[in-house]
């Protein structure tokens, strides 16, 4: 699967490097030759070009790309134009990083498949973790469903999953349990061992401090989050 990264600022180049390290085919584009040179060794192919130049961008074969990610935030006009060209060229999935709420709204209007607003997303997560320290993470997987990672609420401690009626009473499912178990090491010292139980059965008992990874409809997950 080929990924086109357009715009090699801090975010774009970090993304290109990361995808390259994971073995993906990465084509990196920026109009600044210096930025392109810096990333060259980490990616499959590079182009020095203006992403708003339709003719030039077409010559890269971008129309056949599965995913293109536009990482231009300092020039909203260029970002919008680049996204529009990519959509017109038939790129299957266009993603874009934005730097403001207005930028986000415009790109959503022109049909960008995923708009990334890292500062806003990070701020949201930090706010959540400050207000609810028992919440570790929330992932939106669609408009309807989300995944929540939280410390097991008090009422679940030392209870078997089958006795908690989470499915019937809360409409949520436990996908995994992450726990740290005290152990004695070979040298006789006490330590902790991390254990992950994937799709735990009904007989599994929840321990104090367990991290529960649950999935369900947003409203159900939110109820469980606030317990």
């Amino acid at each position: 699967m080929a990924f086109f990264i357009i715009g090699l600022g801090r975010f774009g180049s970090a993304l290109a490097k990361s995808l390259g390290e994971k073995g993906a085919e990465v084509i990196a584009i920026d109009k600044d030759g210096e930025k392109v040179n810096e990333i060259e060794e980490f990616v499959t192919k590079t182009y020095v070009m203006d992403a708003t130049n339709e003719k030039a961008i077409s010559s890269t074969g971008i129309g056949d790309a599965d995913t293109a990610i536009v990482c231009i935030t300092n020039d909203i006009e260029a970002s919008i134009l680049a996204c529009m060209i990519l959509k017109e060229k038939g790129v299957k999935r266009v993603m874009a990083k934005v730097g403001s709420e207005l930028h986000k709204k415009i790109l959503q209007k022109i049909g960008v498949d995923r708009v990334i607003f890292p500062e806003q997303e990070m701020a949201h997560r930090i706010a959540q973790s400050i207000i609810s320290p028992h919440i570790f993470d929330i992932i939106n997987i669609s408009d309807e469903y989300e995944i929540l990672e939280r410390i097991a609420p008090k009422f679940t401690e030392n209870k078997k999953i089958k006795d908690l009626r989470l499915k019937t009473d809360f409409g949520i499912y436990i996908m995994a349990i992450k726990r740290k178990l005290p152990i004695v090491k070979e040298d006789g010292k006490t330590s902790l061992k991390e254990e992950i139980i994937i799709t735990p059965g009904g007989e599994e008992e929840i321990l104090k401090g367990d991290l529960l990874v649950v999935i369900g409809k947003k409203e159900n997950v939110e109820k469980f989050r606030d317990l």
Binding site: I151, R179, K180, L181, P182, I183, V184, K189, T190, S191, L192, L207, K208, G209, L211
Partner: protein, 84 residues
């Protein structure tokens, strides 16, 4: 039984509770030991482990820092603190 022997016995009990995931009992006993000997590093270390196990990282950090203030070369504690 002198205080030292009593503390050793209590520590064994606390470790047993800790290893069998009975954190509430383990915490009670460790705190009891620390009332008798507030600088007992073994009790402090196990209390730190206990807080880590139940995801009370701030409390664990506080305990580990206390241990390091008394024993700055404790490698195990330094490592635990780094991994928090």
């Amino acid at each position: 039984m002198n205080i030292k022997e009593n503390i050793e016995l209590l520590l064994d009990q606390a470790k047993t509770f800790l290893l069998t995931n009975n954190y509430e009992e383990a915490e009670k006993i460790l705190k009891r030991i620390l009332k008798m000997d507030k600088d007992n590093l073994d009790a402090l270390y196990h209390l730190g482990i206990l807080y880590e196990a139940i995801n009370e990282y701030e409390k664990a950090k506080e305990i580990y820092l206390k241990i390091l203030s008394k024993n700055p070369d404790n490698k195990d504690v330094k490592e635990r603190l780094n991994n928090l």
